[in-house]
Symmetry: C2
Subunit: 453 residues, 2 copies
């Protein structure tokens, strides 16, 4: 075998530190009506060891031995060379992908789930609460809690709870307690059920319930956990890019030209991209592309503003690209990309012109997903197909330009739990959707009077 | 990190030859009314390059470069040390498992699927037909056909087709064409539907349909593919055990005491076990345990006889442990273990006293599966839980005996597509089932007058 298809690392070759982009690119502070939110204010919501990470501007942060041990359940992840996809496109580009689909939950989400569970356990917490939309994050956190010995309570948006029973069953197999949101277990939930007993629920409502369930626990031993957006979550994911850089070196690549990831809240994208962004900030010439759906075009069509992270305005104000906290994206199948905002650190980098965001339609993405499944053999998650479609476009561009570019993208998760989306695509039942500019404008009116970053 | 959790091999450390047990333990010939079946008789069913392998008694057979390249899509697979399962049991035994769940189809099945697809393509075949029980094999062959460029037609046992729609969607994503069996597309299928329109189907029936669809193709460019039972299939799977032996050596283990795999047709079990059986035949003291469900107790309750591999008696007679070709096992959730017979090479080894088969009930297996998910983090396929339950029993035995045994089992596949079984288990809706002796006796009457091995 002349060609090496995958570059694998041994456990002892795993990175020992996370990269914290906030050291090189501090983002704007969280804001409340009283001004910047101090770290202590988060104490009822997150354990202070994670709050410390959230506010840290230290560049490299040691990964505790206990977290490393948890990560070795499935890490390091392989870096694949996509020979067959390259051949199908006929491109001179060399395409690599970091395979994050091999975790027991099937995506990159466990990278931060095990870290958060470990830090909470260290801090003496007994129970975590969280929300989940399609269920990727809820299953990742259930997995992590089961490994470290924490209880896990997941509020799952009712419409997904009813339509996607497999994700709920995954959580149950790991001992997670998953309920449909709105539920009768919180004041927020009860209030909404009283008004509208048949509500399909929303991520905003589920966040409100999860936070309430954490902060109102009279024992004080419950905290809340978030699977994306925040600085410490981005940082936990940087192990993806740090491993990838080691692997590209082993593959003999001296330079990377294009780095690609799909972006909803931003965590899988940041995980691959931030270690390369470090190089770019320090002089390297790299094109870094977050890809979002045209139906939820946060980075490509929305402004950089202060806004709440949730619909019910329970979070402080966050400086980010936002479509407005009341925006409810159309129900495209890439549920993980349906978020009105974007991670502050990703937003900051885009606002500084360090990244080149793109938006794609879902039909092009599913087509790319099928090509990938038939050439490289792995069925991608609908979210991941956005990164693949952009990779294909970049590889075609390299072909037109006759350039031997090196392209890397994050294969953030497999699509085995999302096959109904492919079924509908293959049956011709899906359509594209562009969010009209006037809808965005109308929606952003709710941010009038908010501070500006 | 003092403890290494996974031993990984690089692609260039992958075995370059398969081990053929038939060199050390020839099985009884296929029989027809005219006596032993010559290799040439298989020409309409399989390509002759695979028939040659089926009849070969050469001990080591080179893996073609083209097959190696296909295997590197996901191989070598890691060998995990189950530290947390050991701790939960409190055993002095060291437990290892070979993780075959990381293939794009989620099980060990692609090991032979890509080999068979490659040999068929080499032989000029355009289209493969096959049967599938739970859907593991059908999706593996669809995956393989998509990679090498063959059409793929899958007859899926109806009870699984109805219970497991996701598997069918996986096949479609890879371009496979999947129908419920019995179907109206074959004479065999129509005959059974006429007698019993509500039949849940069986592997035996689906095999009949797939063979008929292959041999009746007037273009002569269709062949049949089988995912278990046959010698060449067992041989393709031996890469599992050959890798595992290298990895155990790296882990510092000088001796293996117990080798465990679940056994339906026998292929994942044989894949791990045969390379260790080679050592046993040559003097090593190893306990080798195939585990089957108590509801389909081929090795533990049935006799070693000549029988057909399929219900419609399209195959020649095969010497094996069998419950009779008309036997339709009760619809337990481990669909991959519902086969009336057993691979001839596994059967031969058991008949020679070289293995110690066990049968388990499904409740004990699901309980083991949940313990594994909560300790080791991966949700096992229902089939795989049989191997886990036996591993736990053996580890407890080692604890009672105070012995530092080395136990290895095959983690044949993940359970992400089989979560409804876990749901029913957790809801207390599953029961155990023992196949009564008189039912077996009654069923075997159909074999009266058949030759004896």
């Amino acid at each position: 075998m002349a060609k090496t298809r995958k570059i694998v690392l041994r456990e002892d070759e795993m990175p020992r530190q996370w990269y914290n982009l906030a050291a090189d690119l501090p983002n704007d502070p969280f804001m409340s009506p009283d001004g910047p939110v101090p770290a202590e204010a988060w104490a009822p919501v997150f354990p202070m060891n994670l709050v410390e990470q959230e506010y840290s501007t230290q560049r490299w942060i040691d990964i505790p031995e206990g977290v490393l041990e948890l990560l070795t359940r499935w890490r390091p992840s392989p870096l694949h060379r996509a020979y067959n996809l390259e051949a199908a496109i006929g491109t001179p580009a060399r395409i690599y992908y970091k395979n994050e689909s091999l975790s027991p939950a099937g995506s990159h989400k466990p990278n931060t789930a095990v870290a958060q569970a470990w830090y909470n356990k260290e801090f003496g917490i007994k129970r975590l609460t969280t929300e989940t939309g399609a269920g990727q994050w809820g299953s990742a956190l259930s997995f992590a809690c089961s490994l470290v010995g924490l209880e896990c309570k997941v509020f799952m948006v009712r419409v997904s709870f009813d339509q996607k029973p497999y994700r709920k069953l995954m959580m149950q197999a790991w001992g997670g307690n998953c309920v449909a949101s709105p539920s009768n277990e919180t004041q927020a939930g009860r209030a909404i059920l009283e008004k509208d007993p048949d509500t399909p629920g929303s991520l905003g409502i589920a966040i409100s319930e999860a936070i309430e369930a954490a902060v109102t626990d009279p024992t004080g031993q419950t905290r809340y956990s978030l699977g994306s957006v925040l600085n410490h979550v981005m940082m936990h994911q940087t192990i993806i890019g740090l491993e990838a850089k080691k692997q590209l070196k082993i593959a003999g690549e001296k330079k990377v030209d294009v780095v690609i990831g799909c972006a909803g809240g931003g965590s899988n994208f940041a995980g691959l991209a931030f270690p390369f962004l470090y190089d770019k900030i320090h002089g390297a010439d790299i094109d870094i592309i977050p890809v979002e759906p045209a139906s939820c075009p946060t980075l490509t069509k929305a402004p950089y503003l202060y806004d709440h992270g949730d619909t019910a305005k329970m979070t402080p104000l966050v400086a980010m690209y936002t479509l407005g906290h009341s925006f409810i994206p159309p129900p495209i199948h890439a549920g993980g990309l349906r978020y009105h905002g974007m991670a502050p650190l990703v937003s900051k980098a885009v606002s500084k012109g360090l990244m080149s965001p793109q938006a794609l339609h879902q039909l092009e993405c599913y087509e790319a997903g099928i090509l990938f499944a038939k050439t490289e053999g792995i069925i991608p998650a609908p979210e991941t197909t956005h990164a693949i479609a952009t990779t294909i476009n970049e590889a075609k561009k390299a072909k037109e330009e006759g350039k031997e570019k090196v392209i890397i993208f994050n294969f953030s998760g497999h699509g085995l739990m999302d096959l109904t989306g492919y079924d509908k695509y293959l049956a011709g039942e899906l359509t594209n959707y562009d969010l009209p500019d006037d809808v965005i404008k109308e929606n952003l009116k709710e941010l009038e009077g908010y501070p500006k970053p």
